[in-house]
């Protein structure tokens, strides 16, 4: 059996999420069966980095039109490679870039990507979250052909072995690609404004979710944060509404934090939020729903109305300081 692992780079190095995807691939077959694929305009250094990881083979898919990334360039190139080699599985890290092209690539091959996978079990059955993390679903590939799978960041341990193994054989694949086939024209990445808050270095964070209901209640949260000497942060919907600036957002589209204390108030705990904070040392959740997924990662919890619990907690924190 042959497995393709599609790696993704950032700043000249393979991203950690790609090695986590390798961890998932190793649940399907041994390392010798894994062909790691790097794509770009210049892939020599990436391929050398990859060859030392203990995978079976490395393929450099190289073409001047593969930088910068475009969905058309990646889909056309990978389709040619996959049709030539017919792997049993194609495994990706579930990044923004993969979300942008892998569903269309799978579709072109008559397949459906099993995306954002958190577990691989016998069968194989692939686990992914449903209903904002409140349920797990077990998915199976049916029929013939290549099975496409993308792997959630942080769900598998990154593979860091292979240091002692001889480097894998590296081959080059040059796709047939024409500038007229690339329909989208990306510009250089940019930031909106200089980041002024570094939540990453905060010791304590009070984080607000939809449960706060209205901007006028944000003062309650600020009072608690002040009493705790904590930074105020939020899940995405709060920042979408403009109740806190975007730079105070924690989660996959915001900052990743790991403070000593993370106090999540009125946050249900969708995976997009959890990936940004589950490395915190101590997690406290206040939520009215005892089944909210935030309680799956919380050390302490208060199940109840935040409009009663938060003022009580602010008072208790102040009293403890005296």
């Amino acid at each position: 059996m042959n497995i393709f692992l599609i790696l993704e780079e950032s700043g000249g190095h393979i991203k950690k999420s790609s090695w986590e995807a390798l961890g998932a691939a190793l649940k399907l077959a041994p390392a010798e069966s894994v062909t790691a694929v790097v794509l770009g305009a210049q892939t020599e250094a990436l391929a050398a980095e990859t060859a030392a990881k203990g995978v079976g083979k490395v393929v450099r898919v190289e073409h001047p039109l593969l930088a910068p990334y475009t969905p058309d360039g990646f889909i056309i190139s990978l389709e040619q490679l996959i049709r030539a080699e017919a792997p049993a599985y194609v495994v990706f890290p579930h990044t923004y870039q993969v979300r942008d092209y892998a569903p269309a690539l799978a579709c072109r091959m008559g397949q459906v990507l099993i995306g954002d996978v958190t577990g691989v079990d016998d069968g194989p059955l692939f686990t992914r979250q449903l209903m904002q993390g409140r349920l797990n679903g077990s998915y199976r590939h049916s029929g013939n052909g290549t099975c496409f799978v993308s792997v959630q960041a942080g769900a598998f341990r990154a593979v860091d072995s292979g240091a002692s193994a001889p480097p894998a054989e590296i081959t080059k694949f040059t796709p047939t690609l024409d500038a007229t086939q690339i329909r989208t024209h990306p510009g250089e990445p940019f930031r909106d404004s200089a980041q002024t808050v570094d939540l990453g270095s905060a010791q304590r964070i009070v984080s607000v979710g939809r449960g706060i209901k209205d901007a006028e209640h944000m003062g309650l949260m600020q009072d608690l944060a002040t009493a705790l000497g904590a930074e105020l942060a939020a899940s995405r919907p709060i920042c979408d509404n403009g109740w806190l600036p975007m730079e105070r957002q924690v989660g996959s589209s915001g900052q990743t934090v790991s403070p000593k204390l993370y106090l999540a108030v009125g946050i249900s705990g969708a995976i997009q939020h959890l990936v940004g904070m589950k490395g915190s040392q101590c997690i406290v959740a206040i939520n009215k729903d005892p089944d909210a997924p935030i309680f799956e990662v919380a050390d302490y919890g208060i199940v109840g109305d935040l409009f009663e619990a938060v003022p009580a907690l602010t008072e208790a924190v102040k009293a403890a300081k005296q």
């Binding site: 269309a104 979250q129 449903l130 990445p189 996959s252 997924p293 799956e296 050390d299 302490y300 199940v303």
Partner: protein, 256 residues
């Protein structure tokens, strides 16, 4: 510009989730449903583009009869007309199966732009828009916060990871999946709700779209997630629970 917005009706965020007998899907009886929030942002962007450049906004949604309430909400917010693909077994179709239904109906309209939310709040697949682009042979981009019309087509603002963004230009027709937060969602006005009653919703039977096909992936079963940690729930009145929590944070977790 003729814009089609694909919207999905999903269980309300606060609705209790119960696993139905057979563990294939959730119990839908007594559930409250709402418009998928990322789709609401896609609709908002479409309505703003129409206000600037003129044209027409058509919403399309697949699902059983209950989907009509979400379609009426979109019409009340300002969509001009709607297409309801009547489909009783939506949850039995995989992402490709659903996208085929939508693509078959969208093709007949020849739109300039197709918008949808980046993912649904129930299945969270985040694939429908991207597969639609493939089926419609249109260029696409995902995680879009803003759309600007330019001479050669459109220029969009795409969210990248870690606080970065990117501008992308592409010709029309195109498909975009919208990220939340790019604009402020409007509420339906009383006048809008009244007007919605006079707007056209065309019903199309899923079977008439010729889009039936075997599933490539199957959802075998659903289950409650296993807990990673055992959470100490602090009981009692708000005051007692707060005092107990502070004590735990000081002496047990040592983070205060």
């Amino acid at each position: 510009m003729k814009i089609i917005v694909a919207i999905k009706q999903v269980p309300d965020r606060d609705a209790p989730v119960r696993i139905a007998a057979g563990s294939k899907w959730i119990e839908e009886r007594e559930l409250q449903f709402a418009m998928n929030e990322p789709d609401a942002y896609a609709l908002e962007e479409a309505l703003e583009l129409k206000e600037k450049h003129g044209g027409e906004v058509i919403v399309i949604s697949a699902g059983p009869e209950r989907v009509g309430t979400t379609i009426r909400e979109a019409l009340a917010k300002g969509a001009d007309r709607a297409i309801h693909i009547v489909c009783e077994d939506l949850e039995a179709r995989d992402a490709l199966g659903v996208a085929r239904l939508l693509a078959a109906a969208i093709k007949q309209e020849n739109p300039d732009l197709v918008l949808t939310g980046l993912q649904s709040e129930d299945l969270g697949l985040g694939q429908t828009g991207v597969i639609l682009a493939e089926l419609l042979a249109m260029p696409h981009s995902t995680l879009i916060l803003h759309v600007e019309k330019i001479d050669s087509g459109i220029k969009v603002k795409r969210e990248l990871e870690e606080g970065w963004f990117q501008s992308i230009e592409m010709p029309l027709p195109a498909v975009l999946t919208m990220q939340s937060g790019g604009n402020k969602l409007r509420y339906a006005t009383l006048m809008g709700i009244k007007r919605a009653k006079t707007k056209e919703t065309r019903l199309v039977a899923a079977g008439d779209l010729g889009a039936g096909a075997a599933s490539a992936v199957v959802l075998e079963r659903i289950a409650l997630p296993r807990k990673e940690k055992s959470t100490q729930i602090l009981p009692g009145s708000p005051k007692d629970a707060a005092a107990a929590l502070v004590e735990k944070l000081k002496t047990e977790a040592r983070v205060l």
